[in-house]
Symmetry: C2
Subunit: 238 residues, 2 copies
DNA sequence: GCCCGTCTGTGCGTTGACGCACTTAAAGGA
DNA sequence: TCCTTTAAGTGCGTCAACGCACAGACGGGC
């Protein structure tokens, strides 16, 4: 996990940082530290005070709720389209979720206090934070709907597309067991669904190394939930 | 649907309005109109521009997503603890949801533009809006988790308790068919679950008229999701 | 009092997902 | 090279929820 001073070019890899005003970015840059996040790293634990806010560039972070009995379910996924730690500026400071690195990569971090200060200034940055939060709400809402009404097959497609959108490559390093924990289903259920997608030629899969071969195919198999979320992200964060 | 000028006493029936600063409330009162909302009234439709924000006092509003095939699922419920139309100040102006009156009652409405103006002032009101939004996010998240992991029985308990919390009485005017649409399950599933709760003596039920007889019993039957949401609301909006 | 529409209850067969136990297969270290 | 570990695939039986069809049962209107 290396720390380094941030440059404008690096910062532009995160969609939120790339769309704020020049003077705001100028102020933030010295506070941003780029670091590498390994697979499985927990950025914060449920109910834990958040010391930093994170802006992923190539990493993907999963927001999970962990039940008392240990089972879990994903409520949202964040990549270079967003940030981790909205509770910092929303005023709650904590959330009852765990944030865990789903795909290794890089992210900026910034101290909570500095985040709050910039947010309070109320400029474009403030605006973008809120619009992103609304987009995230849509994603979480649609997860709720999808969990209620759709099959594991459809949900795996949705999950793959959401991940692919946030990924610089077509490869996803992730075991079926991990995916099942995220989706809150049986590992065998993922095995079955993944096999179907593989025989359709949409993905290939070897021991925790998945490659997306045919995105169009996935898009044709997914439920409407995916498109609803994507459209809303595009609308809010254009 | 009667319009009337709002008084401080009336406004205090909504928890958000009751906790803002006196000078802020002074400014808002002339803009607030109290109206009666009949069961089933749609406050806004998915993707529709919101002209008003609503602060329920005795009414309960359900946030639903309607699938292309007509099936639906609830993503959240709002009563005198909150407001309907957060997209107005979050910057998106619309959301891909429908807001529909689940239990008839009263609510204040205020013009979107006036809402935005007050929000932009950035005082305690701004703060409370954001904290409420975070609480709502927790509710939506927990709905996603509950949809994934829990039985219809448990979800009905959760739904009843969430409704009861926002209700001035123990009576809930609501057919099983409507409840099933909200929860996104079969009507017969609700019949079974409701029967079990009735034989346990927790509720009584006659043709769309439900009475909660034993709240403790419901609390003992519900999954942890209910308490997580309640605790978070208390923490954020104390 | 009777009728009819609506709400609730019940009984199927079906199915998608579950839990468990186990096998097969790949990767990596001794 | 073998051996251990970890990931993926398979085959059950079980169960909760589904869809459908229909049978009460309640209540408002005539």
């Amino acid at each position: 996990m290396t720390d380094a001073a941030a440059t404008k070019e690096e910062a532009a890899q995160n969609n939120l940082l790339s769309s704020i005003r020049a003077d705001e970015l100028e102020r933030l840059l010295p506070n941003l530290q780029l670091l590498s996040l390994p697979l499985g790293k927990v950025l914060y634990e449920s109910g834990e005070k958040m010391d930093y806010i994170y802006f992923p560039t190539t990493a993907i972070i999963s927001l999970l709720y962990i039940m008392e009995n240990g089972s879990s379910a994903e409520i949202g996924v964040v990549g270079n389209d967003g940030m981790i730690g909205i509770a910092i500026f929303m005023g709650g400071d904590t959330t009852p979720n765990r944030a865990v690195v789903q795909s290794a990569g890089k992210a900026f971090k910034m101290k909570s206090s500095q985040m709050k200060d910039e947010f309070t200034l109320g400029g474009r940055f403030h605006n973008i934070c809120l619009r992103y939060t609304q987009a995230l709400i849509t994603q979480i809402s649609q997860t709720a709907v999808c969990n209620r009404l759709h099959s594991v097959d459809q949900q795996l497609c949705r999950w793959l597309l959401l991940s692919h959108d946030r990924l610089p490559t077509d490869r996803l390093i992730m075991t079926q067991d991990l995916i099942s924990n995220m989706l809150g289903v049986r590992r065998e259920g993922i095995t079955h669904a993944a096999k179907r997608l593989q025989s359709a030629g949409y993905i290939s899969y070897v021991r925790g190394d998945m490659t997306i071969l045919n995105r169009k195919g996935l898009e044709a198999s997914v439920c409407e939930c995916y498109q609803v979320v994507k459209t809303e992200y595009d609308r809010l964060l254009a």
